[in-house]
Amino acid sequence: MKIKKEIKVDHLARIEGKAGIDVEIKDDSIDARMVVTEGPRFFEVITKNKRYEDAVAIFPRICSFCCTPHKLTPIEAVEDALDIQPSEQTKKLRELLYLGNMVESHALHLYLLVVPDYLGYSDAFEVARRGGGGMVKDGIFLKDVGAEIQTVIGSRSIHPENAIVGGFGKVPPKEKIEKIEKMAGEGLQKAVDAVEFFAEYEYPSYVNGSRRHLSIKPYEGYGVYGNEIISSDGHSFKIEDYKEHLNEEVASYSFAKRGKFMGEPYTVGAISRLVNNSALITGKAKELIEKYREFVNPENCFANNFAQAIEMVYFLERIKELASELHDIKDESIAKPERNSGDGYAVTEAPRGMLIYYMGIEDGIVKNVDVITPTAMFLPMMEVDISSMAKGLWEDGYQDREFIGKKIEMVARSYDPCISCSVHVTRL
Amino acid sequence: MESDNVYGLYKCRILRVYSLTEEEKLFLLRFEDSDIAESWSFIPGQFVQVALPGVGEIPISICSSPMRKGFFELCIKKVGKVTDMIHKLQPGDFVGIRGPYGNGFPMHEFENSDILLIAAGIGMVPLRSVFMYAVDNRWKFGNITVINSARYGNKLLFRKELEAMRDIAEAENIKIIQTVTRDPEWEGRVGRAQEHIGDANTDPENSYVAVCGPPTAYRSIFNKLIEAGYDPRKIYVTLERRMKCGVGKCGHCIAGSSTFLKYICIDGPVFGYYDIISTPGLI
């Protein structure tokens, strides 16, 4: 007799957005699916026929955690479409702004969302109450560093409005840049501590398995901008050709789209960046990678948490460096478009992985949009890992559904999924 | 009361709380500082600013007699943020008070004349102070009539207090008329306050009239009074506006027109009949 066994996590806590997980265990197989119950928001429909300035102000509302990438990436796409050449100073400020988001997002994810799992508590408040206050405060400090950078450069940390096509409404004053530099310096040791913390936990072996990692090939150093996409097994293609390589599917149980590369699930994010580009990392982070080489494990999704911690160290150093290069910051005019129509492509590395924007503009009006978000890219891979986790535990004789539920939640969380992003919408 | 900051508040302790109606409560208060409590004085028709830290500050008319030293009463209707919180207070609790503010009724002018008081709804609150003052100084005034009106019987403010006075009032030439406009259960008089002016014991030729109620009622009350022969120069009303300071600064209570621009808080709240009719916007 076949008994259908189900494990359900109705509402996945401590992630951005609303989703559940259904795992169905049959005699001979196991099937996991991430059920995204969040409503669709149709960003590509609502930005259509708007002026591009207005459209780029709408995109960040796709997701608060990665609002900055959702601002800077479409800006890049518009600039590509209309041949706008931002100044060197603008580029530096943008990178700084972007990294501010990176640090904030990683700090939030690691300290407030993941650490409670590792310590067996339900939230960071409980962590704080039970003597982990120092650690929570470290996390909040690092989150504040990121938020401050976004506030100084972007006008606020959620939905920064100061970044616009062609430059910035207002260039931040030198003193504020110096403050950022100082804060980043103060945060560095805390980020190193985070790396040490995560290096104390072994990865669950149930989710071991080979996988393909995709990331950009940065223009410069271990940066977040580029126009070429590379894979851990040696493939590469230009962003303009993304449609030929990355497909998206729709599943009936989810408003999120699901990415495939060469017909197979793949992964993106901090671990993928490290797998593909760790040679470009320098400084303290490089030392830590060498010290904890085995934690940069390309075959286990839990490595993503560790990779985020490493990145925090690296990006804080990079922030200091960028800020120091901006000591002679000055007011600048905004770069103007060379033409009024065109197609533009952009890809950047958001905290959770690659983010792709395509925008078609006619006479300043947005006519076509396509957005592919990291969460949509890694969803199928995540389901594979969730199945493996459930199956492994089940086969080892664990029967407590709540226990299994917690474990599979941890798998999902390690990806740092961003449900709002995945649900925003993309054209088929 | 001495303070170098006009917005400075003095602690007052709530001594008693009575529920008058579902929405109105009467609070008996005393300044914590006994020097202030004993020396503090006011004129009927004046108001105080009542403050609750964290919630806000509002103007409230004093409704007790100024003759009663050391204590004063406020009758407060629960209508919003501050008044809601005040209604939660118990005897022993504190509020901040500053004032008294406003001009008040010209009680000295009223002396040796009859007094007709016409109240609609919450309008009875400031008029109670006038009434109590007149009763406390009974020998200074002629006949007195109070017309207290409300929509429903159970909304008539100070109804029981006025009823209880009936016998003694009769002996003292005080007439108390209580009337309601919408209450089918009510067994007493019905109709709007102005419809009972004819029943007052006051002599139109030698009376002062004080009116308080919703501004929309004023014109019709004026017409009835003048019809009945009352002297327009001796008719007074009190007005209400939003107010933040009570001392002519915040600008919210400015009313009137270009030739007669007044602060309700310091030029009023009591205004004469001719001020009202010659100034668009005042009511």
């Binding site: 928001r41 939030l108 339900s122 006008s155 409005e161 729709v250 709002s420 | 964290g54 919180m85 939660k88």
Partner: protein, 256 residues
Amino acid sequence: MKIGIHGLTSCYGCQLSMAVVKRILDISEKFDIKYFYMLSSAGKIEHVDVAFVEGSVSTEEDEKELKMIRENADVLVAIGSCAIHGGVQGILFNENVEYEEAFRTVYGNRDMEYEGRIAQPIDKFVKVDYRLPGCPPEEEEIMYYLATFAIGSWPEEKDYPVCAECRRAGNPCILIEKGEPCLGPVTVAGCDARCIKYNIPCIGCRGPVPDVSWFDSLAMTFKEKGMDREYVKKRMAIFASRYEGLNEMIDKIYGD
């Protein structure tokens, strides 16, 4: 005091802004947080004194959850533009795009187990006691709202536009000076005119001033500055798609 913090369909920015206020740890001590799924796996929907709800109603599930939240809360506060006005996703409503059409454009000819909807503000379904506007709300206002509830009172909502704060802040007016399409005059204050401080014309992210947003007068001003109807309409509708009479007000100025 027991509180719950909930999210329907949105970018989760309002919850995030609540999660990252500087004094979040003080809040967690002062208030008994019964529900905050973004930050905590403890908690189910149970009776609370105040429930904060972010996001628009965009699925059946959203509606069910919202009603459950309402039944269990003494006071319900709508936070952010999505909950109060339907959010940017509400633009579809203003542009008369049917759900089916939007869905097909995006997901193709597929059937879903879940039914989505055109986003709606939460007061279309339940009674909302207070509104905490913003996209996302400002830290200062979040703290103010929480504090007034903590002392047993309630917050005073703002009823005036961003311009007032723009002047208080000492900014130059970019609508007058540069003729840029600033929506400050019709957008409810509370952000201290942040964007204008950065020389960016307000896009109205906090939503219209309740009941007294003069889109018609502003359209008149915009028209005089040479902006065309389509542009004005689209820009005004980003955060105000559900403002009553919006399209009519604009049409009145531009003629039919």
